[in-house]
């Protein structure tokens, strides 16, 4: 029953995410609304980690598996992919490099400014 209850809580949050998505005037992904909703519930103590621990461990630790069917559906787009595989690979390498560099540098700059303010 414990697991069923946890499944119930998380599925309910996902459904509420859909309800809120339908009510919003702009489009915002329902699963992200669910995530924010769960975070707010934890933050304000409406839910305790113990209420969802096992189910959330199960979902988080098996995350990669749940994407198998989504990945397999690439079978329907092989032609589209064939023509642009090389550029996609180049973009993946270059953007990973750029993202790392910009994140690291912006943090370094922020820390330096914070230390300077603290020092003066």
């Amino acid at each position: 029953m414990k697991i069923i209850k946890q499944v119930g809580i998380i599925f309910l949050i996902c459904w509420l995410g859909l309800v809120i998505e339908a009510a919003l005037p702009f489009s915002f992904p329902a699963s992200i609304i669910g995530m924010i909703l769960l975070f707010v519930c934890l933050l304000f103590g409406i839910l305790k980690i113990e209420h969802i621990q096992e189910k959330s461990d199960f979902l988080l630790s098996n995350m990669a598996f749940f994407f198998v069917p989504a990945g397999v559906s690439i079978i329907n787009y092989l032609d589209l992919l064939k023509s642009s595989l090389l550029p996609i690979l180049v973009i993946c390498v270059a953007s990973t490099f750029i993202t790392f560099a910009v994140t690291a540098w912006s943090i370094r700059l922020t820390m330096r400014l914070m230390n300077r303010r603290k020092g003066s």
């Binding site: 699963s31 988080l60 749940f66 690439i74 642009s84 953007s95 943090i107």
Partner: protein, 225 residues
């Protein structure tokens, strides 16, 4: 004959079997590039093509597995919540770093896609590829892009980031574990985080935080595209 394959049991068992084989293979080869997800996708596509099984039949089971994606995404909240002390203590560098990183990621992808004259559908499917798969997929769905392209691009990016992370840390002379962790998480989400955990505990925790924060920031930016 067709009915046998269109039972959801077929798609689910095939997926679990293929993923399990992928995990075995990774344990044996110890290669980051040999991710169970990638191996499973290749194996299943191979089986479907070899035995001429229609994708729709496999997807009867696939849909049921897909149903777990939204709950799994919601649970990312748990992984942010468990690190809330760290987040409160370093909120400014975390926020600045993740915002700049997400902007740099989306900006550089857009520029390069335009440069390579990629199909608009592919461009829209790549924009979110530096964040964790569930969030990236939600963004692509909003853009009506091609979800499987996003799944594969996110996987390639994560794997690359995880392999290159130690090299990047040396190249950019990163000494602060906070900086290293956030940068790894920002460019290569969950796959990178497992590498960051190997480098150090603070690096791992920061990288884990960057997954959620960069994800939310990227969703917000995508609202304006």
């Amino acid at each position: 004959m067709k009915e046998i394959f269109s039972s959801p049991f077929f798609g689910i068992s095939l997926s679990i079997l293929a993923f399990w084989a992928g995990e075995k293979l990774q344990k044996k080869t110890k290669l980051t590039a040999c991710s169970p997800l990638l191996v499973a996708i290749v194996l299943i596509i191979g089986v479907l093509l070899l035995f001429d099984i229609p994708y729709e039949a496999y997807n009867e089971g696939g849909q049921i597995i897909n149903m777990f994606l939204a709950p799994a995404t919601a649970c990312l909240a748990v992984s942010i919540y468990t690190r809330i002390k760290l987040l409160k203590k370093h909120w400014l560098p975390i926020l600045v770093g993740c915002t700049c990183g997400s902007l740099a990621s989306m900006g550089s992808i857009y520029l390069m896609c335009t440069l390579f004259h990629l199909d608009e559908k592919i461009t829209l499917s790549l924009l979110s590829k530096s964040v964790t798969t569930p969030i990236a997929v939600s963004i692509t769905e909003r853009f009506s892009g091609v979800v499987p392209v996003t799944v594969v691009a996110v996987l390639i990016t994560g794997t690359l980031g995880s392999i290159l992370a130690p090299f990047f840390v040396r190249l950019f002379r990163v000494k602060d574990p906070l900086e290293a962790g956030l940068a790894i998480g920002a460019c290569s989400h969950a796959v990178g985080t497992s590498k960051a955990l190997e480098i150090g505990e603070t690096e791992g925790a920061m990288s884990g935080l960057a997954i959620g924060i960069c994800g939310i920031i990227t969703v917000i930016f995508s609202l304006f595209i």
